[in-house]
């Protein structure tokens, strides 16, 4: 273990420079983030991820945000275990009818101010699952959505751009 830790000390950092927040995302967010909330949160957001019916592809890329290349936590963004600790719900998947109530209850358990990010094509418009008897609809049909990050699944860098836009909006004063 010492060898490995020592190597890591000598090695150049793998973490890549942050991307710029996406303009389109900034525009989407301009309306939903108010100044009072911004001041309260400062430069940090806690995110609760909710899989409301995804194929698990989106979850894989969310996991990737934690690796050394993207290192999400350097931005003050972190994933929390409970909606009661969260500022942001990051929701994936077409909302299945079997998950609808769980998503609604998670939303209600999240304290204000809160934002909802619909991540992935399924969360935005149900993707290939549109029209199924088992899907309640996109995330916006169940809870209000503030930001959409498209892709199937979105690459980690795209997720990061979206989340940074959210951070930029909430911390601008």
């Amino acid at each position: 273990m010492r060898k490995l830790l020592f190597q890591s000390l000598l090695q150049k950092s793998l973490t890549e420079p942050p991307p710029l927040p996406e303009d389109a995302a900034l525009a989407q967010l301009a309306q939903s983030v108010n100044r009072a909330a911004m001041q309260r949160l400062g430069r940090s957001l806690s995110i609760r991820e909710v899989d409301a019916g995804s194929c698990n592809g989106c979850e894989l890329e969310i996991h990737a945000l934690g690796n050394a290349f993207y290192d999400l936590e350097r931005f003050g963004l972190r994933f929390v275990a409970s909606p009661r600790h969260a500022d942001v719900l990051l929701v994936t998947g077409p909302v299945t009818k079997n998950m609808r109530e769980a998503l609604e209850r998670t939303y209600r358990a999240t304290p204000d101010p809160k934002w909802v990010v619909a991540m992935g094509d399924c969360a935005i418009d149900c993707g290939v699952f549109a029209g199924s008897y088992a899907c309640a609809g996109p995330v916006s049909a169940v809870i209000p959505v503030d930001l959409r990050i498209s892709g199937c699944p979105p690459a980690p860098i795209d997720i990061l751009k979206g989340l940074l836009a959210l951070l930029a909006q909430t911390s601008a004063s």
């Binding site: 890329e61 690796n67 009818k97």
Partner: protein, 502 residues
């Protein structure tokens, strides 16, 4: 004569089912098949329906040439398989939910995928309207003064898929775990019915995102079997390249995540770096990090440019150099071994009875691998081993993954060395009704695809995830462990929720 061969002889062959035989049988033959499964003469591969008949796929362990036995549904009923052979239980409950079929003699009448939320009963059968308030679900009980229940989910603490776990614990010790799944049921079977082949292929690739290559391959091979279409050699080799990259990425992710669940984050951090490198090379070669929609019926949708081949060689070299250090660390860290060794033991008999595939089966001595048997190209031309262990604990499942990482690296090297040139797509012929089937080895086990085509339209398609036979085994493996070790056991199984819920 073998058991499966005897069944085949007594049934009435169905024309146009490829590559393996399908026979129609009566209730007597059905019962013989079920008794044979229960006696261990053959392994259950799948149980599904098209509304008119129920289909049972089975194969003998030694010579894995599968057979599909079909029984016409009479008055909406069929005789229970699970009554005699428990591994069919959840498949049977799902059939009842989706098609409204009554199962004679079924030992468990609770709904499985249908939570009473669809506004519809039997969505692939009679389609009766119902309310959406949700059914109550009665969990199995374990009673006595010191026992208490712990409900977990469907929304979990980590970034994982939704499902409900009901633990009954005696202090710290799990006395019973019961799973309730179906939360991510998206109605894929019905979306498949009537879909053009191209759309159905996209759906198949989204049954379980982590196995998108395996699913796309299973679907493509089933379509090709039905149409009698053979993809060009280069496509066949590129598919195997993608399949091994997917296996590599998932195993690296899993090994790290299991160590992380034992609070050893150093290996997790390093494995995540290696996994990211695999995904970046996949993206550079195929234009998509998870290689979604890259495999299509008839071949592949993207070819690898020759200037990307060195990336693959560098990747194999890098992981070949870095990975052994991590394995050494895993092997030499007593605090980590203390968590994984003898935790979550799955007995070999259960693995065999349930026909558990992938690392779950192999860590408990079941060596089945669809790449070897029934086998498909190009693996028949490649050299690789199927590693097994006999301990059946979390540690054994880690070691099987470690060995498979090595095998996949060697396979990628062989594929890159021998990649043939030429076309990558061959068009299939439509025409009259045809049926096709395929068994493909994904990273967590064998994925089964069965479908019926009319012209260029899929009229019926069933995809069976390996998790169907692994989820119930997790319940058995957890028994007697402490509650705090459940995440570790669960991660070492890493069953798919989406692949199971369909």
């Amino acid at each position: 004569m073998g058991f499966v061969a005897a069944l085949q002889e007594h049934g009435k062959p169905v024309a146009g089912h490829r590559p393996w035989p399908r026979v129609d049988g009566d209730e007597d033959l059905w019962r013989q098949a079920v008794l044979g499964l229960a006696a261990g003469e053959a392994t259950l591969l799948g149980l599904w329906s098209d509304g008119q008949a129920v289909h049972l796929a089975l194969a003998e362990e030694a010579a894995c040439e599968p057979l599909v036995l079909s029984l016409a549904v009479r008055c909406g009923r069929f005789p229970s398989v699970a009554h005699t052979h428990a591994p069919a239980m959840r498949l049977e409950r799902a059939l009842r939910d989706l098609y409204g079929l009554e199962v004679d003699g079924s030992p468990d009448l609770r709904r499985w995928l249908d939570h009473g939320r669809w506004g519809l009963r039997a969505p692939l059968g009679r389609q009766q309207n119902s309310d959406v308030g949700g059914d109550t679900y009665t969990f199995r009980t374990a009673e006595g003064p010191p026992l208490h229940q712990i409900p977990v989910g469907p929304v979990h603490a980590g970034i994982i898929e939704p499902g409900h776990f009901r633990f009954t614990a005696n202090g710290e010790t799990v006395v019973r775990l019961e799973e309730r799944l179906g939360y991510v049921h998206k109605g894929i079977d019905r979306l498949m019915g009537g879909a053009p082949i191209a759309r159905a292929a996209r759906l198949a690739g989204r049954v379980s995102g982590d196995s998108t290559v395996a699913y796309a391959l299973a679907f493509a091979r089933a379509v090709e079997a039905a149409q009698g279409n053979v993809p060009p050699p280069r496509a066949i080799w590129l598919r195997a390249l993608m399949a091994e990259l997917e296996r590599l990425a998932n195993h690296l992710g899993d090994i790290g995540a299991i160590c992380n669940d034992a609070s050893f984050s150093l290996i997790h951090a390093h494995c995540s770096i290696l996994r990211e490198q695999v995904l970046r090379v996949a993206s550079a070669c195929f234009g998509h990090r998870l290689m979604m929609d890259c495999i299509v019926p008839g071949g592949v949708a993207v070819d690898v440019a020759s200037d990307r081949i060195p990336l693959l060689r560098t990747l194999v070299r890098t992981i070949g150099r870095r990975f052994p250090e991590l394995v050494e660390l895993y092997d030499n860290t007593a605090s980590l071994q203390n968590r994984t060794v003898t935790t979550g033991i799955l007995r070999a008999e259960l693995a065999r009875q349930y026909g558990a595939g992938g690392f779950v089966g192999r860590a408990s001595g079941r060596a089945h691998d669809a790449r070897k048997s029934p086998g498909y190209p190009p693996y028949t031309m490649l050299a690789f081993d199927v590693p097994t262990r006999s301990a059946g604990d979390v540690d054994a499942r880690v070691w099987v993954r470690i060995e498979e990482v090595r095998q996949s690296l060697a396979l990628i090297e062989q594929i890159v060395d021998r990649l043939p040139a030429g076309a990558t797509l061959s068009a299939g012929q439509g025409g009259e009704d045809k049926e096709g089937m395929a068994l493909v080895e994904g990273f967590r086990g064998d994925v089964l695809c069965w479908l019926r085509l009319t012209g260029d339209t899929v009229t019926c398609c069933h995809l069976r995830d390996p998790s169907w036979f692994q989820w119930p085994l997790l319940e058995a493996a957890v028994e007697g462990n402490i509650v705090a070790d459940f995440p570790l056991c669960n991660k070492s199984f890493n069953c798919s929720y989406s692949g199971h819920d369909l």
